[in-house]
């Protein structure tokens, strides 16, 4: 232990601390230049731990830089020390709101390497669960966008109605958030009895929810003044920054992996359309997602009526060994293009997995789009770009 400070030393130290505090005050009070504002890592608008370092002039943004990595969990490395079936428990925690959709492209990549194809019934149920997780994911966005512009009510409606979809997912998979249900060669289980009729009812409810959001939030004049022509991303910029999903379609680019590069799921069996919006602003992104949620309920409805009979599992060995090779499969996930580049050397687990997540690329456009906007717009633009933190830092 150090000896207790003498009275004079204590006085000196107190004077020093006081001077420091005074300096800090003077600096805070007299600095009329640019102000650096750290939004996050702890900030309600960042849905987790994203940090955005902004240079502000008054309330106007000079530059904004997203700094990520506060929640990096090392999933790519962790996949290398696990077997293929074990990997799915990890990767459905990447985009935690649409978790089943995360598993699908990885399983498809592994199936491609093994030369296995799941039976049609499994493909259809996969597609249904995929679209259900899309609805669960995006419906939360539809409410959360209200919170970003200051209306608290829609998000509670979103939580209320999303719960119905999660119940349906839970009835099949046993898990609300982390189903871990997809298997190489098929699915773990079949759907329970009575599920189809229940899901039809839930889909009708979700269409009602979409109408409600259109009335309550999207049609609101204040919402429109806050979102229209705010955060405009032209199509070519969106493409050059690697945006995908609804963010890209809201910039007028007609691009949807479900239609353009269907990796074998049942999307080509049903009648649906891809929505685009020419504006590229925050409002367009909201509009496109709203239409997509409606479209997803229609896809699910049609798929439910046409599930083929048959097995839900292809013939695969009990211990899965994937032959050496490389495969990249990407699907149109709720947030955008999610792809897995899987390298196998013939072992029980992957040699290397590269995960291409949509939010990581979507967030990269932030410095471009934030320049010259105001502080409140940072929040609406971030909200409308719609990222999940686990999807940025995987």
């Amino acid at each position: 232990m150090s000896p207790p400070p003498t009275a004079s030393a204590l006085r000196e130290q107190q004077a020093y601390v006081a001077a420091q505090a005074a300096d800090a005050r003077v600096n805070v009070e007299l600095d009329t230049g640019d102000m650096t504002l750290n939004i996050g890592p702890q900030h309600p608008a960042t849905h987790g731990t994203l940090r955005i370092a902004c240079q502000l002039d008054g309330e106007q943004v000079i530059s904004a830089e997203p700094l990520m990595g506060y929640m990096h969990r090392g999933y790519e490395k962790l996949c290398e020390v696990r077997t293929y079936p074990q990997c799915t428990t990890l990767i459905n925690r990447i985009d935690w709101l649409g978790s089943f959709a995360n598993e699908v492209p990885f399983i498809l990549a592994a199936e491609q390497l093994m030369g296995v194809e799941a039976p049609p019934r499994a493909q259809w149920i996969r597609t249904i669960l995929f679209e259900l997780s899309r609805i669960a994911n995006v419906s939360l966005f539809l409410g959360d966008m209200g919170v970003q512009v200051g209306a608290l009510t829609p998000v509670f409606f979103a939580f209320r109605d999303r719960e119905r979809v999660l119940n349906q997912i839970e009835e099949v998979t046993g898990g609300r958030f982390h189903p871990n249900f997809d298997r190489i060669g098929g699915l773990k289980d079949d759907i329970p009895r009575g599920w189809i009729a229940e899901t039809h009812a839930v889909m009708a409810k979700m269409r009602g929810f979409c109408d409600e959001m259109e009335d309550l939030l999207m049609g609101n004049e204040i919402f429109q003044t806050r979102c229209r022509s705010v955060g405009v991303i032209p199509g070519d910029v969106a493409l050059s920054y690697g945006l995908s999903g609804a963010n890209l379609r809201a910039s007028g680019v007609d691009w949807d992996l479900r239609r353009d590069a269907n990796p074998g799921l049942a999307w080509d069996q049903v009648d649906w359309r891809v929505w685009t919006h020419p504006d590229g602003d925050s409002f367009a992104r909201y509009w496109v997602r709203l239409q997509e949620t409606r479209e997803a309920t229609k896809i699910v409805d049609q798929l439910l009526d046409g599930i083929p009979s048959g097995p839900i599992m292809a013939k695969v060995p009990r211990i899965i060994k994937v032959p050496a090779g490389e495969a990249y499969v990407s699907t149109e996930n709720p947030l955008g293009e999610m792809g897995y580049y899987v390298v196998s050397k013939g072992g029980l687990g992957p040699f290397r997995v590269k995960i291409r997540t949509p939010s990581f690329s979507n967030i990269s456009v932030v410095p471009w789009v934030m320049r010259g906007t105001y502080v409140p717009d940072i929040i609406t633009i971030l909200g409308s770009l719609y990222f999940i933190l686990g999807d940025i830092d995987r």
Binding site: A21, M35, P376
Partner: protein
């Protein structure tokens, strides 16, 4: 020296003080419970308080106790004296508003001749407290919130006062009692049974008043100084425990006071149709009537708060200067013409 009740000055003053100390926190608690907890829960399909007391009625008391228990934290770089004074200034401004609110022929703390002028003046004081809080917290979010509040002041205070002008012209007085009297003794095309509540003739004034009051109270859609999702609470982001409770109480009490002002100026105040204006029984019935009307107005204020998104600061300025202020000026002109012609 004797007051209206015929008691000594000191006795009357202490009665008034006692009433004020009971009425204002009760009003804040009532609004907080009815609207912030129960109504918000119903509107947003959540449960709301259930457990503390019957129907969760004691939840606010529990919350207040919770706030009292919390640690009183000052940021290291804060200007401590200003930091401490700020919530008191804000609360004082809403307490001062209650001084002139009439609830009966004699049931008023102080019947000032320039009552409405005084009310407008003290209500703007709260912005001073907000600015102090934002400045002294040594926090960038708080600073942005405080500056937004100051910028907002100009945008809504002007339409607020101009909206009140219409009422003043029509009632010929700045005295709130006289405004009530003018409504009680007024006639609508010779039909004088319900008097002439100014909401009928001053409907545009009423709308402008309510919109501006929403901004004054920093309620959505004009809650930019607080802006929970952007500025995480704005000017009161650094306040904890009791000091935060003071801000909270001031917010709800001011909502109550502004509902009362709207009631007095536009909805006929405490007067009940069929009674004499000076009937002593109105000293008892008047407060009840006032309370009912206040709750209706406050319901509208909170209803809007839970429904609308938030505007941006520059959009509020645009709205105020391009819509509200011209509209209220036109309202004054039209009122003046009618006053001279009729």
């Amino acid at each position: 020296m004797t007051g209206a009740l015929g008691l000594a000055y000191w006795a009357e003053t202490s009665i008034k003080l006692g009433v004020a100390l009971i009425v204002i926190p009760t009003a804040a608690l009532m609004l907080g419970y009815l609207f912030l907890l129960k109504m918000m829960a119903f509107m947003q399909s959540r449960l709301g308080p259930q457990d503390v007391g019957p129907y969760g009625t004691l939840q606010l008391i529990a919350d207040a106790v919770k706030f009292l228990q919390k640690e009183d934290i000052h940021p290291a770089a804060a200007d401590r004296r200003v930091f401490r004074a700020a919530p008191v200034v804000v609360l004082a401004s809403s307490f001062l508003l209650f001084v002139v609110l009439p609830t009966g022929p004699d049931a008023v703390v102080e019947n000032l001749d320039t009552g409405i002028f005084y009310a407008m003046a003290v209500s703007s004081l709260s912005v001073l407290g907000v600015l102090m809080a934002g400045w002294a917290s040594a926090n960038k979010y708080a600073l942005l919130g405080g500056l937004r509040a100051a910028g907002q002041l100009i945008a809504y205070e002007l339409p607020l006062i101009l909206a009140v002008m219409g009422v003043v012209i029509q009632a010929d007085s700045l005295n709130l009692q006289e405004i009530v009297r003018a409504q009680a003794e007024g006639e609508i095309f010779g039909f004088g049974l319900i008097g002439n509540p100014f909401i009928l003739t001053q409907f545009i004034g009423f709308l402008i008043f309510m919109i501006s009051a929403q901004a004054e109270l920093t309620q959505t859609p004009f809650d930019m100084p607080v802006a929970e999702t952007e500025l995480v609470g704005g000017f009161h982001v650094e306040y904890t425990g009791f000091r935060f409770l003071l801000f909270f109480m001031a917010e709800v009490a001011t909502a109550f006071a502004f509902s009362a002002l709207a009631t007095v100026m536009f909805l006929g105040g405490w007067w009940i149709p069929g009674f004499d204006f000076d009937a002593p029984v109105l000293n008892v019935l008047g407060p009840v009537v006032m309370l009912v009307k206040i709750l209706v107005v406050a319901f509208i204020i909170f209803w809007i708060r839970f429904t609308y998104p938030r505007l941006r600061e520059d959009q509020l300025q645009k709205f105020a200067w391009k819509v509200l202020i011209p509209l209220s000026l036109a309202n004054i002109v039209v009122t003046g013409i009618f006053k001279v012609v009729l």
